[in-house]
């Protein structure tokens, strides 16, 4: 079986679907677009592809380095591709969860969340400096060490990314209950992109939402609290270079001012928002304050 790159093949479909969504939103009002925001997202996607291709050797090099230690040598077959896809989806869940909980990884992943809009162009707002998020490599290791061919891992991951494109939309409300129970859907992923306290750090799934249900990070979208998109402390720039680097610049500043190895380590590996004096907010402190506020609003009988 000769693999192909699903993302490359899907690019024309991405373009057609983004245009179709714009037309749909224009005539129904279900969703929002803003030309500078969309341009930034599209340029981020383009830059990510170019820079990703340049630095692909880091990921391939790492995989080739550990490949000799693989437990098995798995060949191409339909069952192998299906199992590889499922394991890659679970691997993606944990990488994604870590990318929201570890500042070093968040410095990169924050770019994808930096738009206050949620439409198909947001799906293409991808980071440029993923090569700096080195711990992310560790999440690649298990599949390589099990013995799946690198081409198969790249192929199934490409499928995973293509799937995730279409869920970045406000134009679709909900699917039948059984679909929402198993699959990652626009509704589940809206929650993931929301900054509402109740939705923070939830729904990390790529394709199957069952990982979130299994590992306790699932939150249902609710009509009484419509999602507001973006990040805690939204960025105030449409400049793609600033968008791509703002997380790294902020991290570098904090590391440069750290006063001890412990502070340095916690800035790097602690949750986004961690600070030595607790003066900044993490998602945990925001959620705790929100819970307190809600309790005060509706005291128990």
């Amino acid at each position: 079986m000769k693999p192909f790159d699903p993302v490359t093949l899907a690019v024309p479909a991405f373009i057609v679907l983004v245009i179709a969504e714009m037309l749909f939103v224009r005539f129904t009002g279900r969703g929002r677009f803003e030309v500078r925001d969309t341009t930034t997202s599209l340029l981020m996607g383009f830059g990510s592809t170019i820079i990703g291709a340049i630095f692909a050797f880091v990921f391939v090099g790492f995989a080739r380095l550990i490949q000799p230690y693989a437990l098995f040598h798995i060949g191409w077959s339909i069952p192998a591709v299906v199992i590889c896809f499922l394991l890659d989806d679970m691997r993606y869940y944990w990488w994604h969860r870590a990318s929201h909980r570890v500042r070093w990884l968040w410095a990169d992943h924050v770019n994808h969340h930096s738009s206050q809009h949620y439409n198909l162009s947001t799906a293409l707002r991808q980071p440029w400096f993923g090569v700096l998020a080195l711990p992310g490599l560790l999440f690649l290791a298990p599949l390589v060490l099990i013995g799946f061919p690198l081409e198969m891992i790249a192929f199934v991951h490409g499928l995973n990314l293509v799937y995730q494109f279409w869920i970045h939309t406000e134009t679709i409300n909900r699917f039948p209950r059984w679909v929402e129970a198993v699959m990652n859907t626009p509704s589940h992923h809206r929650v993931h992109h929301a900054t509402n306290a109740r939705y923070l750090d939830a729904n990390y799934a790529g394709v199957l939402i069952v990982w979130d249900r299994m590992f306790g990070s699932f939150v249902e979208e609710t009509a009484e609290d419509p999602p507001h998109y973006g990040i805690v402390g939204n960025i105030a720039s449409f400049n793609p270079l600033k968008v791509a680097s703002h997380g790294w610049v902020a991290l570098a500043k904090d590391l440069a001012t750290s006063k001890s190895p412990r502070e340095f380590a916690l800035y790097l590996l602690g949750p986004p928002g961690w600070s030595p004096d607790g003066s900044r907010d993490t998602s945990d402190t925001i959620k705790a304050r929100w819970a307190e506020f809600r309790a005060a609003q509706s005291p128990a009988e």
Partner: protein
Amino acid sequence: MNGQVLQLLISVGGIAVMVAICWALFGRALGSLPSADVAAAALARDIPGFQTGVAAVSRDGRAALIEDARDGAIYLAIIRGGDVVTRKLSRGLGLVRSGDRLELRLKDFTLRKADLDLADAPAWETKLKGLAA
């Protein structure tokens, strides 16, 4: 033609077409803060429990200063595109007043400067002086 070059051309052409259509359909959003309520709503979204205290909106409707009545913390709300971006003003703030114009300089990579045209600029300058560098 080389496949990669073709792919690149499709991407660049696709971006140009998508941006042109987006411009034609939605234009360039010019958000504004018609009143302090809009800024307060944005802050209430960002900060659980936020309670609006004293507030002032710049005459151009592009920015506002607003106090949290609970602890006196002062926030900046500023328009970017069609959306509102908020920041808690903290120590190290640069502050220049010239008549009714108040210029804030922040240590923020994506929001370095904010200009406000306020009827009560001197009063806000006094409030913010404690945070100024």
